[in-house]
Symmetry: C2
Subunit: 318 residues, 2 copies
């Protein structure tokens, strides 16, 4: 699966068979107050209740379960702002491997701690993450697991799209937070292959809009600076696989401000009673901002991508 093809239905079905017993089928939740506020039937796909607190474990397990025994024994290396790091550490431990993750020195403290708790080795760096990672890969002869630009990772994330197609028969609009593009690439593709009528919209922070820029330029763009409270969406680039799938299967990508993300985080906390990290609130922020319009009929689903909020961030937002 290292080629440049697009994912097919069989990729998602195989991923589900592989990881189905290892991940949660997360619930759909609704909140009368928030549905009323946006003026439609609003559902939340609660990936904050997923193992390790975010959707990331879906793709990680699908990737790790296609590694050879030799690759697992060598150990894994990756880059992450936090949620992929925790998922990879957890997944590696579950399949009898070991993960080293290069994280930015500015990463959220609780995510670094969670990664270590799951048995991962964390290398913090102020330099370029990918360069440091590639150096560690070479020096220690590790297997590189890309956090999003990988068809197996995307196929695993796509199992979320299969669940939505089955659990929300009247789904008309799906809103997905966008970092590197792994989740939206997988979930939009899995969903559209079954239900081409559903509209899929991606949401990026204004200060980390790599997908928006990449779509405009027709190629993956690297951002020089990142500036957002949604650390989980602060990817400095999107991958070629991600861009290709978003270009083919996503109807639109919009941006939201940090102010709007914080407002949506508070609304989810105090009305929906969900402890969501800022990244997970991006979909609701897009509805609040008016940047995404509700469908005239059918339900709207926001993917709550994660719930690993740090106490300092929480206090700042509340």
């Amino acid at each position: 699966m290292g080629d440049n093809r697009l994912l097919r239905p069989s990729d998602f079905e195989q991923a589900r068979q592989r990881i189905g017993d290892l991940v949660h089928r997360t619930p759909l939740l609704s909140c009368r107050t928030l549905s009323h506020r946006v003026g439609g039937d609003l559902q939340f796909k609660a990936e904050l209740f997923q193992k390790t607190g975010s959707f990331k474990i879906r793709g990680v397990f699908n990737r790790l379960l296609t590694l050879s025994a030799e690759e697992r024994s060598r150990g894994l290396v990756s880059i992450s702002a936090g949620n992929h790091a925790a998922a990879l550490a957890y997944g590696a431990s579950a399949v009898g491997s070991q993960a080293t993750i290069v994280m930015p020195a500015t990463a959220v403290a609780s995510k670094i701690a969670a990664t270590r708790d799951y048995g991962g080795e964390v290398i913090l760096t102020g330099e370029g993450l990918l360069e440091t990672c590639r150096q560690v890969e070479r020096e220690r002869d590790l297997v590189f697991v890309h956090p999003f630009d990988d068809l197996r990772i995307m196929a695993g994330h796509g199992t979320l799209g299969l669940e939505l197609a089955e659990d929300l028969r009247d789904l008309a609009l799906l809103i997905v937070p966008v970092g590197g593009g792994g989740l939206i690439g997988g979930a939009a593709t899995a969903l559209k292959l079954i239900r081409p009528d559903v509209r899929v919209v991606g949401v990026e922070p204004e200060g980390a809009d790599a997908m928006t820029r990449s779509l405009a330029q027709g190629k993956p763009v690297h951002l020089d600076t990142l500036n957002t409270i949604a650390d989980g969406l602060a990817a400095p680039f999107v991958g070629a696989h991600n861009l290709a799938h978003v270009d083919e299967f996503v109807d639109e990508v919009v941006t939201v401000s940090d102010r709007q993300i914080c407002e949506a985080t508070r609304a989810l906390l105090f009305h929906a009673k969900l402890a969501v990290e800022p990244s997970g609130a991006a979909g609701l922020a897009a509805l609040f901002s008016g940047g995404v319009k509700l469908p005239s009929s059918g339900s709207t689903c926001c993917v709550i991508s994660g719930g690993n909020i740090d106490r300092n961030v929480l206090c700042r937002i509340v």
Copy 2:
């Protein structure tokens, strides 16, 4: 149902028929980290996702739907620290009535606001709640709805016990927060009448232990002072109906400190990703404290009774 009898299976079945379409059948959630920490299969009955953010609406609807048209047209009055107030305001509006609620001047700001948002009239007082309430009842010729010492209120709350009996076949231990005793009185009775083998434990804050004292003295005891962060459990007394049902159907009532309640609130927030009010965390606090032992087999369920946490309280706890 104004007599001194104990509730029967038909009371709960009738309550469910009456309110089933008006309240949520709340989900059971689990968290691997917290199950691991307490050393057993731990489930959370998520009443924080219930309409108005707590279990209170169950009993309120069962009470309001047995009022006569004449009583509804006169309007309702009650006392509450907050969650019953919001539920009564919401319920009154739904059945075409109007609610006036006497609340302590020290009530949590967000609960006062929610009650008003649902259309309730709030009277704040620094005096005795019940005395003020009875005076308003007389002056305005309103119908008094007791927040917990009422068989119809308890029967409505008991529908939670029916759901647990059906949804958790291996339930061995149920832990319920105790304020006035309406929830535990109803839920323990409904459950034990179907599954007498399940152990039921109540939890009170050390600074609001009216049930513990009432059980010891064999009659309802009034507390002179209340001192707990769990405002939803800060009832100055328990009712005669509540005491009778707890005495008959509850195995044990234990107390927890505010420190333990805060620790459990944080654990639910950061691990289970649930925005729980302190009262709702009392069950987990009892497990953390070691005051309640897990069963040797079968699952343990903590009722997360509510999620209406105030932002100031949240910041203080986090």
